[in-house]
Symmetry: C2
Subunit: 247 residues, 2 copies
Amino acid sequence: MTKEDRGNSGMTKMEAMGGGRNLTYALLESVGKAIVTGRYDNAPFPTEADLATQFQVSRSVTREAVKMLTAKGLLVARPRKGTTVQPPRAWNLFDPDVLRWMLERKFSLDLLRQFNELRIAIEPMAAAIAARASNAEGITGIEAGYQRMVAAEAGDDDPLEADIAFHIAILEASANPFYAQFRDVVMTALRTSIRFTNRFKGRTASLPQHRAVLTAIEARDAEAARAAMLALIEDVMALIADAERAA
Amino acid sequence: MTKEDRGNSGMTKMEAMGGGRNLTYALLESVGKAIVTGRYDNAPFPTEADLATQFQVSRSVTREAVKMLTAKGLLVARPRKGTTVQPPRAWNLFDPDVLRWMLERKFSLDLLRQFNELRIAIEPMAAAIAARASNAEGITGIEAGYQRMVAAEAGDDDPLEADIAFHIAILEASANPFYAQFRDVVMTALRTSIRFTNRFKGRTASLPQHRAVLTAIEARDAEAARAAMLALIEDVMALIADAERAA
DNA sequence: CTCGTCTTATTTATCTTATAAATAGTCCGC
DNA sequence: GCGGACTATTTATAAGATAAATAAGACGAG
């Protein structure tokens, strides 16, 4: 149950909390998306008083949302100067919210390519580390992810979520917090890019290739694990390159 | 240090703003560090009212600091349940503040090794991409970084800052925002780990090795750039491995 | 005119006091 | 026992006042 229909035509209060579990998160979502979409590129960011008026919320809510956006690198506030939007290079791209806003803004094939360029660096290495150093729990997680993909093949699980689970299990099996940190990034990016990958039918995340990664890790063969994962992502890259040529 | 034994010459107001440019940032710093240091591992996180009382600041300041810590993944707040510390896996390790708190907490050789394990994935690839795709501006930046290292060798610049500038220039030359994003992470981690690397005398960041990276990028030789950068970081890894054996 | 200082206006920062909303825990009637 | 109303606690929201910081303009001395 989402929200009961009040039946009125008012619809104020942050558009009936369209963004999150409370006003602050709703405002965070609205303003964050607006910033990333470039609404303030050629206009000054409003003062906190204006923001509160525009969105019909109290200054407390406004200030707390602004503080969160500041923590994510999107804004900076100074007395008398007002609140200003930071240049994109300052945005924390590895913050799930920020990344999601960027991916949702219009879906850029370019950004998707750049993201997969990152995956090429991270995931094969994570697979190699996992092959070398993961414990039983880590291996079990990867196997579970693979089994979900098998189930998805038979229609018993969501293909995308299963695919994501597999990749995340490997990141976590690396037992390196820096690699595990990419959990949310990979999750967010893969979820959002579904619109793209789904455009290519039959692209059901090659089970054999994933199996190759799994068996290499189980066999503690770091080099094979790295190579198998690399091949997997480079297939995606090839797909993107094709799309770029087509466009 | 408890709060009881103040009583002397005033010194309230968040201990004379010991943390940042205002009360909110001072509180952010204090509480962030406390969380990462584990002060609340075996104790419940205080309610916002208690926090305000303990640190002698208003609820506004308290709430705004808590919201920033929430945005960084350290806290989560729910009505009636209170504010609770998130498990470390939820912390945004790529947030400069969070990373700094983690590195400062006691200096873990283990964390340093894990960080360099990440560098092995990122930086050689960034160098390769830079060799393949960087523009004139990117190359100039790398050359400037190298020149700073040369100057540092002669005592005309800070060796650590010059070294950092070189590595960051490469990340930025990759023209991939995801790689450029590691700018702050690398900066923070290298700065903080100075205490470690300095313990080894003569470790003045081999100029020839850095030069090899530069020339490879200038020559647009991606593979050579990757290899040169990899060699560079693996030297650091060897250093860490030695230290781990010694301990 | 030029430079430094002083004043002023604007904006964030802080504090205070209420009230609302959410919900974990308790108690009650059956 | 068990479901549901009740209560107490904690965050969420609002509103208003004051403080602090500082950019911009006014002013005055040289």
